[in-house]
Symmetry: C2
């Protein structure tokens, strides 16, 4: 029988699962230092929620797992954590604002496996609901930046754009309002299909105006806002976007976040963004490891009452891939392995349970192996200490402890095991 | 638009999500003290895996979410964590044995919502693969027992049975081998439909022999094995089962686990069990909070090579419901809220980032609220300390700190914030 995971999905075996969990714990700690609290939502959402107009949009729906449940309801697996958050906010109108939540859960997208994309992947999101201030955008960006540094990723660039600016620039190039999102979805493919690919797709969609759009996306840098501002004279929405990015930039500087640029080629694929959008990138090979933006109209779609909101999502799969080569994965979490020989099981279990009760990660043989096989196993699993028990040790109420690194052995009384543990 | 979660599923808002996470962290720590390492598998499995003969069985498949993915593959959402584990073992034949893994992930079952059953719920499993010794069964049971005590559930009963004994008893009552599992599935409904319900269903299936089966399930107690042993004279499989439970019981006693009984009314609903089965129960109202057993043939179904295995699963949803009334949920994780007034944002952000960098969970206003509103918010969120910054504090490079419990205030220099943090 075929026993590999479903195509595009992965099993994480213990060594890697343990490392992932360590990274996630650090991420949670960082998120909480920024005052975010956790939220959990179910994997399955009503289809109307996922497919709502101005939610994720048509591109993402093409990749969304959907089906009818046994009650005949059309449902789907969530493709992100932002739409479920917006639903929760709409469903709980009395939550205290600003609502700062983090959420670390898998999402599902039926993407192109050949490009190394997983069809189930973990997202780590922080979002702030209820503030229209650029301080909120700066807060989520600096939280992501802070978190990446804490987990050991120091070298990255934060790219920032604004849907208001992009939209005005695109409209200024003569594109109708209804067509703007479609054009942006094509621009978003720059990383995937390259400049030539995007130009071709744009030409199909908007003909010669593709040139103007391609010019727009070439604006990049910290000092580019003034120049774009001049171009957008008279385009009110765009000017608001410029002001937003100016503020956002100054707040980031105040927070000590300096490694950002404004980059007009950043479009983001989802429909719900209405203001600043951002991505964090580590070199060309790996690309983006975080992305997000402001979505002031998404909650209103569900509740009828708009609430400003902004957030960012860390892509844990790529982050772990970056970190993994830098660490030695742990074969085992066990600190002490209790090996034994002879009719001593009662005493062995007493020792094992004592060690566990006092907080020690401790294992022993449940296979009835010989002493030498037990020692071999402990060594293979890189367990630092082995407690050895034979009938002599049992009768004298003591244990022999071997330090596996040095090979040194010492005898410790059962009554003094607590002290020994404190020492190591 | 309807914004509640899909029927039978739940959102966990921050206060509750935080508490759940704290419980889960404690559970993980306990599992690791027993030497288990984490494993993660995807939510989606091939249908052939979930529906394999002698895997979960026909009852559970009725409740299993299944659909075709966009590539036309028939797949389903996992209904437990045991079948995915067995698949992983089959798919990775070189894993070192015994393989001790824990797995804490959601599972999906389209169950009866009216009975308070969730359709997505978290399972916390520990399993040992590669040992046929009853020590392995004792290890997983004592791990569950230890974990429950550590998280604050002290009053529970471990019910133990053995599919080998049950099967022999049922066959001794004149039931054909092929019919045994079907009878056991009915017996498993004792909690749900009561004794009368089970008797009726059995009568439909096996007529008068229902009386014999109902007699069997009345055997309960620590001393019951001898009596059953006499009944099973000549039934080899059943005698093996008796010997297994005798050993299991003695190992549990050695591990200090005393609160167990042998209980012939315990059947467990899944098809894959082959030996000891167990459930942990806390009073009649709540019922079972953990369950598991030995499944020596499940891995063989997938790989062609049988490997003995046993495990237990904690039902976190019920566990959290038991614990919740005993604790005060946290409105916020934040320890220090920085409130401010005047043109001081640059200094505020400097203070905030310093606090966060040194490990403090710290929040500040991103909504532009008045100082009194900020203080109100901090008080409502039960944040213990508020740092207050105005222009005076900025100019003098200090902050005012209010202890919200006592109302006492003190001035602390910016350069001495580190020391202050150590103090609290």
């Amino acid at each position: 029988m075929e026993t590999s995971p479903v195509r595009g999905m992965r099993d994480f075996l213990p060594e890697e699962a343990k490392f992932r969990d360590e990274v996630i714990q650090k991420i949670k700690d960082c998120f909480e230092r920024f005052g975010f609290m956790p939220l959990e939502t179910p994997a399955i959402e009503r289809w109307e929620i996922l497919a709502a107009k101005k939610a994720g949009g048509s591109e993402i729906l093409k990749e969304t797992y959907s089906f009818k449940d046994k009650g005949g309801r059309k449902v789907g697996l969530r493709y992100d954590l932002t739409v479920p958050l917006a639903r929760v906010i709409a469903n709980n109108p009395n939550l205290p604002l600003p609502f700062k939540r983090y959420q670390i859960q898998p999402v599902w997208r039926y993407g192109d496996v050949a490009r190394g994309r997983l069809r189930q992947f973990l997202q780590c999101d922080v979002d702030i609901v209820g503030s229209e201030s650029m301080l909120a955008d700066a807060e989520v960006i600096s939280c992501a930046s802070f978190t990446l540094k804490e987990i050991g990723i120091k070298d990255f660039l934060i790219r920032i754009n604004n849907r208001k600016i992009l939209s005005s620039l695109v409209r200024r190039a003569g594109i109708r309002k209804e067509k703007v999102l479609d054009v942006l979805r094509t621009v978003d493919k720059l990383d995937k299909i390259g400049e030539e690919g995007v130009r071709e797709e744009l030409e199909k969609k908007i003909g010669k105006k593709a040139d103007d759009v391609m010019e727009i996306v070439s604006y990049k840098g910290k000092e580019v806002l003034e120049e774009i501002g001049k171009k957008l004279e008279g385009w009110k929405e765009g000017i608001v976007g410029i002001e937003e990015l100016e503020k956002l930039g100054s707040y980031l500087e105040m927070m000590g976040v300096k490694n950002f640029v404004f980059d007009m080629s950043l479009a983001r694929g989802l429909d719900y963004y209405t203001g600043p959008i951002f991505e964090i990138e580590v070199g060309e090979k790996i690309g983006s490891i975080a992305g997000g933006g402001r979505y002031d109209e998404l909650i209103g779609i569900f509740s009828g009452r708009n609430l400003p909101a902004t957030g960012i999502s860390l892509g844990i799969e790529r982050i772990v891939e970056i970190l993994k080569p830098k660490v030695k994965l742990k074969k085992s979490v066990v600190k002490v392995y209790v090996a034994y020989i002879g009719n001593v099981l009662d005493y062995v279990l007493k020792v094992v349970m004592l060690l566990r009760e006092t907080g020690m990660k401790c294992d022993f043989d449940v296979k009835g192996r010989s002493l030498s096989k037990q020692l071999e196993y402990a060594s293979k699993m890189e367990i630092p200490f082995v407690v050895i028990i034979g009938e002599k040790e049992k009768n004298e109420e003591c244990v022999k402890i071997r330090d596996m690194a040095t090979g040194r052995e010492e005898m410790v009384k059962f009554s003094e095991l607590g002290k020994w543990m404190e020492r190591i």
